[in-house]
């Protein structure tokens, strides 16, 4: 019984990290039809920048904050100089963001070297609680907490503020929102920057979780995020949250039962969704080409 509870905590923690990545991806896609293949690159940058500052100053919160700032800056830069010039051309968009992804993860190796770095757990989050014979690792609970906060905040902003209303309307019909006098361009810039910041936040949280960070992890986790976005439906935050939990949990359980199949099981879920409901479980957008 205890092992299953532990697996559930692990799975949820992984799911939350993937959710932080996927939420930006899904909103950016929903709003502007841009599929950002460079999202994984942001994840790595967050991890390295945050862990670097954490190692320097000894303050994990400062590292988190720094990663978010790096994400905002990178997000602004990418949106303005890479995505904007190719608006409306899907082919160029997809091709160019993959290029950015590779440049981002290679620059990591230039700055921090090609080897993996170790990422220690901050002292106040190290160790675990033992409740009724079940060992709960503090740091994993912390990740789940942060993920839940982000989810609730995103949900609140989207459903209870004017800004969220505009974003949701933009996902449904961009032209109409624009015709009503909203500067959708600025909205998109904002969403892109926030999405980038969430990706970097996920990166720095991932550091102490896995213990090591390396430049190639960007693509690995981006693939998880893509799977989540396909399962949950492009443009849906709720769908991403739900699908992240599914992917995280099934990964954790299958990893325990049949370790070799852990990635395959997620692919399998994705294939079933694609066959049965190609717009995703919570999809709102048309998906036909």
């Amino acid at each position: 019984m205890a092992i299953w509870l532990n697996l559930t905590v692990n799975g949820l923690a992984t799911g939350m990290l993937i959710f932080l990545l996927a939420v930006g991806l899904t909103l950016i896609f929903g709003l502007m039809d841009v599929l950002n293949f460079a999202h994984g690159g942001l994840f790595v940058w967050g991890a390295f920048a945050g862990i670097w500052l954490f190692a320097r100053t000894g303050s994990f919160l400062l590292g988190l904050l720094f990663a978010v700032v790096v994400g905002l800056i990178l997000g602004w830069f990418m949106e303005r100089w890479i995505i904007q010039p190719v608006y409306g051309n899907h082919m160029q968009q997809i091709l160019i963001t993959l290029g950015v992804m590779l440049v981002l993860s290679e620059f990591i190796k230039v700055i921090w070297g090609p080897n993996q770095l170790s990422a220690p757990t901050p002292e106040w989050l190290a160790g675990s609680w033992v409740i009724g014979g079940v060992v709960l690792i503090k740091y994993r609970l912390f990740i789940i907490l942060v993920g839940l906060l982000v989810f609730l905040l995103a949900h609140f902003l989207l459903t209870h503020t004017r800004m969220g209303l505009i974003v949701r309307a933009g996902v449904m019909n961009r032209e109409m929102v624009q015709a009503l006098g909203v500067n959708i361009q600025r909205v998109f810039m904002g969403v892109f920057m926030i999405g980038a910041a969430l990706a970097t936040l996920a990166g720095v949280l991932f550091g102490p979780y896995s213990g090591v960070i390396y430049a190639e992890m960007g693509l690995e986790y981006a693939i998880f995020a893509f799977i989540v976005v396909i399962i949950g439906g492009m443009g849906s935050v709720m769908g991403s949250a739900f699908a992240s939990a599914i992917v995280g949990l099934s990964g954790a359980y299958v990893n325990y039962l049949l370790p070799d199949l852990s990635l395959a099981v997620n692919m399998l879920i994705m294939l079933v969704v694609l066959l049965w409901k190609p717009e995703g479980l919570f999809g709102t957008k048309g998906v036909k080409g």
């Binding site: 896609f29 599929l35 293949f37 890479i82 010039p85 190719v86 899907h90 082919m91 160029q92 997809i94 091709l95 160019i96 993959l98 290029g99 950015v100 590779l102 440049v103 290679e106 620059f107 190796k109 230039v110 090609p114 693509l219 690995e220 693939i223 893509f226 799977i227 976005v229 396909i230 492009m234 070799d260 990635l263 395959a264 692919m267 994705m270 294939l271 694609l274 066959l275 190609p278 998906v287 036909k288 080409g289």
Partner: protein
């Protein structure tokens, strides 16, 4: 007139390439050019998707890797005979056919993003699979194997790869000039129009995907034969990136473009690897490739051959205008 000139020119270049090993006998150059031929085939198959049908794949390496692994495993298990090679060929064709068909049926009826994501994910899965299934693949360390005696000679192998490239080139040339090829190009230009004209767009896209997949698998086979060694790097994103660069820099939507692109990129690889001894920054050559790639996509989307063709067309117009026609 124009048409014939083009073919005579092509035949002359082919002839030159056929006699090259006997004129200029340098082992390293021969190996480099052989690599160029192999990657030219791979890039042409990619261009059938990207340039002719307008499908973006981020996992073309999966077919390449399947071809390479079936060759390696087949030759290691069954000994270095022609029969073993034939078996490997059969397995490659069947696996690539099935996989490209499944991936195509799943995602090609949806927006182009889905295909890009799905291929990326599938290739990731295959790479992890190749790492984990150690009893079959020996994991990340890879393994060496022997190839049939006849192909051991570098010159013979050079001729074999050249012939391979020419055959695939002619096949694809026929394909894109056929009614089937014209429909593919119509889909690239305007998918809805093609659909409303009554063409089963998905059907055509899936078949383009299958053909491109099988050819990529064949190029992977020849690649494995040329190295006589294989590891999981054949499934790496780098391979897909290379082939993307070759196609885009050379010129999408042309068959000559990928060949020129392959020559440029492979030569650049070779030079940059040598430069890595000079300065460590050259080890990170992917940055350079990535930046060039971004710039090409932004400012030079037609590539070398495409831009050349456009320029020639303009010149011809000018000439006609001057003549008052």
């Amino acid at each position: 007139m124009k048409w014939e000139k083009k073919w005579i020119f092509g035949a002359m270049i082919a002839l030159f390439l056929f006699v090259l090993p006997w004129i200029y006998d340098s082992r390293s150059t021969l190996i480099l050019i052989t690599q160029i031929f192999i990657f030219a085939v791979f890039a042409m198959s990619y261009d059938l998707l990207l340039g002719y049908t307008g499908i973006i794949s981020f996992g073309h390496a999966m077919f390449f890797g399947i071809g390479a692994y079936s060759t390696g495993i087949g030759l290691m298990r069954n000994g270095e005979t022609w029969t073993a090679l034939l078996y490997a060929l059969g397995i490659t064709v069947i696996l690539c056919l099935l996989l490209s068909h499944v991936v195509g049926m799943l995602s090609l009826r949806l927006k182009s993003h889905y295909y890009a994501m799905l291929t990326l994910a599938f290739t990731g899965l295959l790479q992890v699979g190749a790492e984990k299934w150690r009893s079959l693949t020996k994991g990340n360390d890879g393994f060496t194997f022997h190839i049939p005696e006849f192909l051991m000679d570098r010159k013979i192998f050079y001729l074999f790869s050249l012939l391979f490239m020419i055959i695939i080139f002619l096949f694809l040339y026929q394909l894109i000039s056929s009614p089937f090829g014209k429909v593919l190009q119509a889909i690239r230009e305007n998918e809805r129009r093609a659909l409303s004209l009554g063409y089963q767009v998905v059907h055509y896209k899936v078949w383009a995907n299958v053909i491109a997949g099988v050819i990529a698998g064949l190029s992977g086979m020849v690649y494995a034969l040329s190295l006589r060694f294989i590891n999981t790097s054949v499934f790496a994103v780098d391979i897909t990136l290379d082939v993307l660069l070759m196609t885009i820099i050379g010129g999408v939507g042309t068959l000559l473009g990928p060949i020129i692109g392959a020559a440029l990129i492979e030569t650049a690889h070779e030079m940059l690897t040598e430069l890595a001894d000079v300065h460590w920054l050259f080890e990170r050559w992917i940055i350079l490739f990535g930046l060039i790639y971004i710039l090409v996509v932004l400012f030079f989307p037609k590539g070398i051959v495409g831009t050349w063709n456009e320029w020639m067309k303009k010149e011809r117009w000018k000439k006609w205008n001057r003549l008052g026609l």
